[in-house]
Amino acid sequence: MHNLIPLFIVIPLASAFLVPVIGRLIKGFSKIITLTAFLCLLLLSLNYIFLSDFSPIIYKIGGWEPVENIPIAIYLVLDSFSIFMLCIINVMAFLSALYSVSYIEKYTGINNFYTLLCIMVAGLNGIVLTGDLFNLYVFLEITVIASYALVAFGTEKEELEASFKYQVLGGIATAMILFSIGLIYWYTKTLNIADISEILQTSEDHRLIEFSQLMLIAGFGLKAAIMPFHGWLPDAHSSAPSPISAMLSGVVIKAAGLYVLFRLFFNMYVISFDIGVLITAIGTLSMVVGVFLAIGQWDLKRLLAYHSISQMGYVILGVGMGMLILAKNGNKTLAALAIGGGLFHLVNHAVFKGLLFLNAGAIEYTLGTRDLKKMGGLYSKMPVTSVTSLSASLAISGIPPFNGFFSKLIIILAAVQARFYLLAVLAVVVSIITLASFMKFQRYAFFNTSAPKKVIKEVPLSMTAVMIFMAVLCLGLSLLILPDIRDSFLGPAVNVLLDTTNYSTVILGN
């Protein structure tokens, strides 16, 4: 069972390069192989989340055993936090690929699309699994280079410009991350995250390490589009094909940005109060400013993209508060509540923002426009899209019984209990403004009487099926609030972040 971990990288990579070879000869092969591969990954990750015994599984590539307790091999580490992220990635990847089956027909170069999608998923799985800092960088590059190409997939002027902007800013982020990794390697003489963690815990504070922390926050902040670094996101997410927007917004900014930030700052560095303040501050900033930027947008996908920035702010706020409490040696259950709220919102955001982007894609598919002013009256013409987007809108604005309500509630409760009253008030206010901007979306897209004159039909079955399934997930994920279910899915992932030094002792102990 433990030997199956590399399959998370092997399967998507193999299907990615089978597509251009065999897809040339057989029409439709690319769709079948991609769906099969993603289904395998989905089953594999579900298997791990349901059957895991919550102890990390360590896989040494090439079978190189540590010499005198110094790790030599590149490690793949599958702990509860990784499993949690793997599930999000592979569920979203499968749903996006299924949605693309009809959606992508209007583009040319379908084989290239599926190749790039597979490469992106391989990179994401690698980021989440790897226990080696440089390997992390390599997988990060695999992911973002595939997403540069996917953003530019339409090859119109707007898409190319967005992709160019993304590449320039992404390149700066990459340079900062690589520089920071170099500094860490210089200081600790190792690249294994667990090994680095052990060295940093015993060594005294050093300016170099603080500098590398700031570089990493800037670098991964750019990948996660946290507020001062968000410039590329609205363009890139709105001009990509819709299933890719759902992947970028639902998965890529989380796995390539937030996951790495949390993993490195909790499990590699020694937790410090200053960094906790910084992370919480930028989280709050992006939560508040993101929503104000969103409410004035008339381009549907741009509006959703700005909301991604704002909702990522919630996640960072929750986890950042947990970090502050941990750094002050505060109440551990309170820290667990805050971090749990953040991670809960992370999975919820993946589902409802993914669904909203797919809805936007469905509207664009039939109407050919993303401008809210040119829509209207779609409620009767496209009932499935309308109902699913209503449920996603309610979820993102935090209306019970949808999942967004519960995660926001936990974050706000944690903020109040930890006496961060200002943050709690801001979180409530932002949620209300979010509701306002999604009422605007619903009003102009679906319930407006001035309907466009085009003949409109509901989108094909593969698209509606995915949207319905995700709407059900929006409701179903609320169950994560129940203590029993929370303890078996969310709890272990939170514990990984909570026991900050446990990661290195477990990995080096094996």
Binding site: P6, V10, A14, F17, L18, R24, K60, G62, G63
Partner: protein, 142 residues
């Protein structure tokens, strides 16, 4: 291009190609390896296209060929890595072939095979990129 350039290119290409192969197969013994050797090999192909030129249709078919070769090389690499999975050892990327004597050409187990796969992949990929740029320029000018 003039006959002088064509003749010199013809004479040089074989040597450059051989040198690329030399770097690839000695990857586990000397500096260099798959990537460096692959870049040299693609240089030989690029030199031929530059010296002799070609019409766009011909280049397009060549580009398709080289991109297929590229994918096949990656699949071969992946197959080598995954084979370790199934042959007894059950460890991804393990070196399952006999290691041989240090310093000999045929030694170090699977590493030379990986180098060859990487070399073919890099040569094909760089050549594909070059052809894509040439085709783009031709299409713009016509």
């Amino acid at each position: 291009m003039s006959p002088i350039v064509k003749k010199v290119a013809q004479l040089m290409v074989g040597i450059i190609f051989m040198y690329g192969i030399y770097i690839i197969v000695h990857g586990h013994l000397t500096p260099g390896g798959g990537f460096a050797g692959g870049a040299v090999i693609s240089g030989a192909f690029i030199l031929l296209v530059l010296a002799f030129g070609s019409n766009v249709m011909n280049l397009k078919s060549r580009e398709e060929g080289s991109s297929v070769v590229e994918s096949v090389a990656i699949l071969f690499f992946l197959l080598l890595a995954v084979l370790a999975f199934f042959i007894g050892t059950t460890i991804f990327f393990s070196n399952y072939l006999p290691k041989g004597n240090i310093g000999e050409l045929i030694s170090a187990g699977v590493i030379p095979l990986y180098n060859i796969a990487v070399g073919v992949e890099v040569a094909a990929a760089l050549f594909t990129i070059f052809l894509a740029l040439v085709i783009y320029k031709e299409e713009i000018s016509t």
